[in-house]
C-alpha cells in the first residue's frame, strides 16, 4: 500500500459542539491536526481531543469498522468516523475543511454522541429481535437448507451503527416509523426457517401504520450503510412476503397498493393513475371505488381532481379510461405475467449473495458505452 508511506499532513476539522446541559446553543469548533492522509477521521478527532480540547465528545471503541460506535455525519453524509480516510473526507468537503456532526433523527447527548437508546435500540426492541421457536428442540442442531441461511447473511452484516437511522427520510417526518435498521433486523428473523412466528411478525409489521408500508423507498439507508446491508431492500422483501405470499390485507393499503399497480400494468401495460386511489383504498378491482374507504378518500381528493381536469392537466378520457399499449403488446405482457408467476418458486437474484459475473464488473450500468450505441 503506497498510501501508508505518505508523510503526515495538516487537516482541519470543523466539529459541531453541543452540550444540552450547558444551556448554550450548538456551535462550530475548528482544530487543525496532523496525520498521514490515509488515517481515519476518528483518529483526527482523537488527536484534537488529546492535543487541544479534552471535552470533545465522541463515542468509539474498535476503530476497525466492526463495533458500530463511531457513527457520525462527515460533510453531511452519514458514516463511521473510523472508516473514513482523512484525505477522502477532505476531498468531499465543500471548502477543504472536514465537517463532522452528530447523526440525525436522534437526540444529541453531547457533541458527536447521540442517544441511540432513545431511538435506535428502542426500535430494534420493537421488532422482537430474537428467534422464536418454542417447539420441541432437536437433539443436536436445527438442520436448515443452506440457501435460506445465506439469504439472511446480508442482514446479519449489520453492526447497529445507526447510520441508516440517521438519514431516514420517512423518520424525518414521522419519527415513529420503525425505520430501516430495525426492519432489516426483522427480516433477519422472518427469513430464518427456524423461526415459528413468521406470519405473526409480518401481520404486526404490516398492520402498524409506522411499519413496512411507511418506508418511502428513498434509498437513503441503502446509501448510508457502511456494511452494504441494503435495509430498504430488506423492507421490500418483507413486503413481498407479507403481500404476495401471506396475502396480508393490511389496513394501511400497502398490499392493495402493490396489487393495484401489478394488476393495472397487466391490464393496461401502463399505469392508470385515476384507478390508483380507489383501488388502493377500496380493493383491487374496478369496483374498488364503491367501497366506503375509497369513497371517503376520493371525496377528499375531488378538489384536486377537478382542478386537474379544469386545467386540462389530465383529460377526462384519460381519467376514466386510462391509456393502454397496443393489443398485441398487451398480450405479450400478459404472457410474461403468466409465465413468471406460474413458476413453482419465485426467483430473486441478490447480487450481495451471488456476486456479479467477472466481465460485468467492467461495465458500470448507466454510463455511456464506448460504442455509443443503444445495442
Amino acid at each position: 500500500m503506497a498510501e501508508t508511506h505518505k508523510p503526515p499532513e495538516r487537516f482541519t476539522l470543523r466539529m459541531r459542539r453541543y452540550d444540552p446541559e450547558s444551556g448554550e446553543a450548538p456551535y462550530w469548533d475548528e482544530h487543525t491536526i496532523e496525520l498521514e492522509p490515509h488515517r481515519s477521521v476518528l483518529e483526527g478527532i482523537l488527536q484534537a481531543k488529546a492535543k487541544f480540547d479534552g471535552s470533545i465528545g465522541i463515542r468509539c471503541s474498535c476503530r476497525a469498522a466492526i463495533c458500530g460506535s463511531c457513527g457520525v455525519r462527515i460533510n453531511g453524509e452519514p458514516g463511521l468516523a473510523c472508516h473514513t480516510h482523512l484525505d477522502h473526507a477532505r476531498a468531499s468537503s465543500k471548502d477543504g475543511v472536514i465537517e463532522v456532526e452528530p447523526m440525525g433523527n436522534m437526540p444529541v447527548i453531547k457533541d458527536m454522541i447521540v442517544d441511540m437508546d432513545a431511538v435506535h435500540w428502542k426500535k430494534v426492541q420493537r421488532v422482537t429481535p430474537w428467534l422464536i421457536n418454542e417447539g420441541p428442540q432437536p437433539e443436536r442442531e436445527h438442520l436448515v437448507p443452506r440457501e435460506s441461511m445465506v439469504d439472511i447473511t446480508q442482514t446479519m452484516a449489520c453492526i447497529q451503527c445507526g447510520a441508516c437511522v440517521s438519514d431516514c427520510l420517512a423518520m424525518e417526518v414521522d419519527p415513529g416509523f420503525i425505520g430501516p435498521a430495525a426492519l432489516a433486523k426483522a427480516y433477519r428473523f422472518v427469513g430464518d426457517p427456524r423461526d415459528e412466528e413468521q406470519r405473526e411478525r409480518l401481520l404486526d409489521l404490516s398492520e402498524d401504520p409506522q411499519g413496512i408500508y411507511d418506508c418511502t423507498h428513498c434509498f437513503k439507508c441503502v446509501e448510508a450503510c457502511p456494511k452494504d446491508v441494503n435495509p430498504m431492500g430488506q423492507i421490500m422483501r418483507l413486503r413481498r412476503i407479507a403481500g404476495a405470499d401471506q396475502h396480508i390485507n393490511d389496513q394501511n393499503n400497502g398490499h392493495r397498493h402493490e396489487e393495484t399497480v401489478v394488476t393495472l400494468i397487466k391490464d393496461y401495460g401502463l399505469l392508470h393513475e385515476a384507478e390508483m386511489i380507489p383501488r388502493s383504498y377500496g380493493g383491487n378491482s374496478w369496483f374498488g371505488k364503491f367501497h366506503p374507504a375509497a369513497g371517503k378518500e376520493l371525496l377528499s381528493s375531488l378538489p384536486v381532481a377537478i382542478r386537474g381536469i379544469a386545467k386540462r392537466k389530465m383529460s377526462i378520457k384519460i381519467a376514466i379510461f386510462g391509456h393502454k399499449i397496443p393489443k398485441q403488446d398487451l398480450n405479450a405482457v400478459k404472457r410474461i405475467y403468466e409465465k413468471v408467476e406460474s413458476k413453482p418458486e419465485r426467483y430473486e437474484l441478490n447480487l450481495y449473495v451471488s456476486g456479479v459475473d467477472e466481465d460485468a464488473e467492467q461495465t458500470p450500468v448507466g454510463v455511456g458505452s464506448e460504442e455509443g450505441s443503444a445495442k
Binding site: 427520510l169 424525518e172 417526518v173 414521522d174 416509523f177 408500508y213 411507511d214 418506508c215 418511502t216 423507498h217 441503502v222 446509501e223 421490500m236 413481498r240 403481500g243 404476495a244 393499503n253 397498493h257 399497480v261 401489478v262 400494468i265 401495460g269 401502463l270 399505469l271 393513475e273 384536486v304 382542478r307 386537474g308 386545467k311 386540462r312 392537466k313 389530465m314 383529460s315 384519460i318 391509456h323 399499449i325 397496443p326 403488446d329 405479450a332 405482457v333 410474461i336 409465465k339 413468471v340 408467476e341 419465485r346 437474484l349 447480487l351 451471488s354 456479479v356 459475473d357 460485468a360 461495465t363 450500468v365 448507466g366 454510463v367 455511456g368 458505452s369 450505441s373 443503444a374 445495442k375
Partner: protein, 300 residues
C-alpha cells in the same frame, strides 16, 4: 441524435405537459425521438416489490425493444423513477449471464432478446453528457436571467450512487445546478433538493407523504426560489398536484410553481410558456410567466 425514447406512463397520463414539452424541445436540440409505444410501465419499484423477476422481465422487454430501434444511439427516459427502477433491473440483468438467459427465455415467445450493456439515460444526463453544456449554452435564445430556480432531483436519480454511475467524472447529482446555470438562471440551493417528495407513500401514509412535499416546498420558499424544476413526473404529482393539500398539512401558504425539466429548457430555447403547457399545472407558475414576459418586454 436519434434515441429510443421511453416517455413513461405518468408523462402521458396525469402530467401530459411533460411529454408534450419534450416533443417541442427535442427538435430544437436536434434529438430525434423514436417512441417506444409498445413498451410497458417500468413498475416504479412496486412490481419488483411484488416479484423481482417479473419486473426484470418486463423491463428487459423494454430494453430489447429499444435495442431494435435502428440507428438509435441510446435509450432516453424523462422520469427519475423510470431511470432508477429500470437501472435496478438492468443491474441484475447485466450482472449475470445465467439470469439474463433465464429472462430472455421468457421473452423468446415474442422473438425478443435483451443483450447486455444498454445505455439508458435520463434527458438530464443526455443534455449534459451527450449534447454538452457548452453546446447547449450556444442554443439559448432567452437566458433565464434573474430567474431563481431550485432543483428537485427525485430519489431514484441520485441514489444509490454506484448503480447510477455517479462519480467524480459524472457528477450526475449536480447536473441540475450545472444546467440551470448554463441556461442563465440562478441556482437556489435548499435543504430538500435531494430528498424524497413523499409520493411513494401517498396512499399508505398520506400525512407523512404530504408533510415531506410541504416541507421541501417550504424550504424552497424560504430560500427565495421563483420555481422548482424536476426531472421526475411522480415528484411533480406530489409537489404540484398535491400542493394545495400539502399546504394544509404543513399549515402555510406555499404557492411554489414546479416545472418539468423540458419546460425549463424550452423556456431558455425561446418557446412560450403556453406551448410548454405551463398553464396546465395546478400551481400557476405566475412568477415564471411574469418573468418570461418581462424578458420579452426588455428585449423589445
Amino acid at each position: 441524435m436519434k434515441v429510443a425514447y421511453w416517455p413513461g406512463c405518468v408523462s402521458r397520463g396525469f402530467t401530459p405537459e411533460l411529454h408534450g414539452s419534450m416533443a417541442k424541445v427535442a427538435p430544437l436540440l436536434d434529438i430525434e425521438l423514436v417512441q417506444l409505444d409498445r413498451a410497458s410501465c417500468c413498475g416504479a419499484g412496486v412490481i419488483a416489490e411484488h416479484n423481482q423477476e417479473l419486473a426484470d422481465t418486463l423491463n428487459a422487454r423494454t430494453f430489447a425493444l429499444a435495442q431494435q430501434v435502428d440507428g438509435a444511439e441510446l435509450m432516453m427516459n424523462i422520469c427519475s423513477t423510470c431511470q432508477g427502477a429500470q437501472g435496478e433491473c438492468q443491474e441484475r440483468l447485466d450482472s449475470s449471464a445465467e439470469y439474463r438467459a433465464q429472462v430472455n427465455s421468457t421473452l423468446a415467445d415474442e422473438g425478443l432478446s435483451y443483450e447486455k450493456g444498454l445505455t439508458n439515460k435520463n434527458f438530464l444526463w443526455l443534455l449534459v453528457e451527450e449534447i454538452g453544456l457548452e453546446k447547449l449554452s450556444g442554443m439559448v435564445k432567452r437566458p433565464l436571467t434573474n430567474l431563481k430556480v431550485g432543483p428537485f432531483y427525485g430519489c431514484y436519480i441520485v441514489r444509490p450512487r454506484d448503480r447510477l454511475g455517479i462519480d467524480e467524472e459524472h457528477p450526475r447529482d449536480h447536473y441540475l445546478e450545472q444546467l440551470i446555470e448554463t441556461l442563465g438562471g440562478t441556482v437556489i440551493e435548499y435543504a430538500g433538493m435531494r430528498k424524497c417528495c413523499g409520493f411513494p407513500i401517498i396512499t399508505m401514509n398520506k400525512e407523512a407523504s404530504l408533510k415531506q412535499a410541504g416541507r421541501h416546498l417550504g424550504d424552497a420558499v424560504d430560500a427565495d426560489a421563483d420555481c422548482l424544476v424536476t426531472p421526475c413526473p411522480l415528484c411533480h404529482l406530489n409537489l404540484d398536484m398535491q400542493q394545495p393539500l400539502a399546504e394544509k398539512v404543513v399549515g402555510r401558504e406555499l404557492n411554489m410553481p414546479v416545472l418539468h425539466l423540458p419546460q425549463l429548457v424550452g423556456l431558455a430555447l425561446g418557446l412560450e410558456p403556453k406551448e410548454l403547457g405551463l398553464s396546465r399545472h395546478v400551481v400557476k407558475p405566475t412568477s415564471v410567466i411574469d418573468w418570461s414576459t418581462s424578458v420579452v418586454g426588455a428585449a423589445a
